[in-house]
Subunit: 257 residues, 3 copies
């Protein structure tokens, strides 16, 4: 019984059993950590609270939970946990091209080094699963159409506020982020926003949440989903990051009524 | 002389000599870094300022300093430094069950991935020292009694503020954290608070300090100890985190007079 | 063509070709990551946007960009990226003694563990290049003269604000940082300020930016350089950290007019 419990909760199997409970898939990469040898309590929480509780709550699909988790890990540069959760994300229906875009997106929203850790993790998983270049987004694809009015409003605001402070930042923000990165077609805007908001909450970037949470909801993320994103991230980025985000999310929700 | 200095300041021996100066113990795990080959100044600061200075200041016991240091490293996910300081904490009188509870506690206050890094580090140290399952807390022990009045007040405040924003977070905060995690008996509330406050300061979670520093002082942490926690963390999490915490601590201290 | 592109953008060569374009030097250490196997887009951005764009902008010298990048990586504890960028910094004219001082400085501004990661990375690069103890700063050199008036003003302000909150922090800040670390001669105050400001922006320490950005400009950093530091760090620490710093930088710039 003990041995079975230990086996079930080895980190790799947590991911595998989670996914197996919901759909057919291959097995995430294994790790050798046995939580119970340091904390039998954490083993209990891993199974009862996270595996059988959090991930089965109705507020978000497994695919969304995987996107939120992968974005959280990249934002926090937690390389050890990445391969397992990239593999689980693939099992949960996130396409290789979408994994690639999540990493590309966070190169700019979490920093180049974070993306490089994710590239290393992604490379391992893609190799294991025989995912080749034909499944990856083109370097320069046909971009999605730009919402000219919304972008003009955003660009004008930023230019007025910060055009004299750092013209380089302002220029790259327009040309590189909003007229290029955000228009790449292999991650839909709603999911790109979900990645961005998750990364902001997970790394304590409270001041940047209002713009991006509003944008996420404009892009189709519902209030109920955003609420559950906060619940999910509490476990992966810690309660304090989420409690600092709560008043900001409250302000955004109230401002949209 | 030079060789002796280098040996003394290799990171492992810093820990060992620190602890040896105070009580009998076994030797922390070794590392191969010789600071002086990159910075003779850092080697000097390691010995004169930290080893012979900071750790011998009267404001906190060696046991408290080890708890603060381990919590700081877990909160910042600094895996390389963890084994040495977990070993030193054991030397300084922190029990294996307490190490286990610190890691379990920070799974929720610093994030699951941080706890997994600490589990890996703890597993190495526990194996080296022959610490087995019999010295670890039960997964589901008899919990400490709940302060019903204080918890009702906390829960009501959070529900009123955030019940509509993220009911999931609010529910888990009550059921999982305050009616379960905080009542686990193998880390007394004062030490659990010390771990929490240290993690918040060390990771720049300024907005969450007032509630938890007040709670820590309600749980028995003195103003003088809290003051010295700030001093200690300055070295392990950097001056800016501590300078951002100072005005918040000031507000808490003044509010309790 | 494809193979050449892949080779060019392997992380090591990015650094190498960057530096080769500007001066003679040896080759940074290699890494085995091929970005294109996970994200052809990131490979494109690495070459077109960062290598041929950002690093060739006129606002900062290559030496300054290397200082900013190394400080950013240490502040964020991104050990994997450090050896390559420490090597590139040497190629770009940062002296070994200056690398040593940057690491020593950030032990106190980013935390001891961050400095230990940088010591490990620096040790590898120094060994590869045959850089020995004769090229490192003395542990206790002749210090630069102190600006007594400015220091008295700073110390008085901090003492009045926080002398009762944490006398230990206040004392160490004076004796260890401003009357010792900041006066070490092997990194000029302007560069020491550049390191400090970069680390603060890169780790989201917004509240500490006003004092240190003003100090940096007192030490000779121009508004145009500070503006370009923000642009450079956007890529290495992510857009959100820079967007949170922009209003603070704006306040500092306006306050100095």
């Amino acid at each position: 019984m003990r041995l079975i419990a230990a086996a079930l909760t080895s980190l790799s199997l947590l991911g595998a059993s989670l996914a197996h409970a919901n759909q057919a898939q291959s097995t995430p990469s294994a790790t050798s950590i046995d939580i119970s040898r340091v904390s039998p309590a954490l083993e209990k929480y891993a199974i009862n609270t996270i595996q059988e509780g959090l991930w089965k709550r109705p507020g978000l699909t497994l695919r969304d939970r995987s996107i939120v988790t992968v974005a959280t890990l990249i934002a926090r540069n937690q390389a050890d946990e990445m391969p397992r959760h990239i593999a689980l994300a693939l099992d949960n229906g996130v396409k290789p091209a979408e994994i690639s875009e999540i990493i590309t997106h966070l190169a700019f929203y979490s920093g180049w080094g974070n993306a490089m850790s994710a590239v290393a993790a992604g490379q391992d998983v893609f190799t294991q699963r025989g995912i080749g270049a034909d499944q990856l987004p083109a370097a320069s694809p046909q971009l999605l159409p730009l919402n000219e009015a919304a972008e003009a409003q955003r660009a004008t605001g930023v230019q007025q506020n910060f055009g004299q402070v750092s013209p380089g930042v302002v220029q790259y923000t327009t040309d590189l982020l909003f007229k290029d990165l955000w228009l790449r077609p292999d991650l839909i805007p709603r999911d790109r926003s979900l990645v961005t908001v998750s990364a902001l909450i997970a790394s304590g970037q409270v001041a940047q949440i209002p713009y991006h949470l509003n944008r996420a909801m404009d892009n189709g993320l519902t209030k109920e989903q955003a609420s559950e994103v906060l619940t999910h991230i509490a476990f992966y980025a810690g309660w304090p990051n989420v409690f600092s985000a709560l008043p900001v999310a409250k302000g955004v929700f109230e401002g949209r009524r």
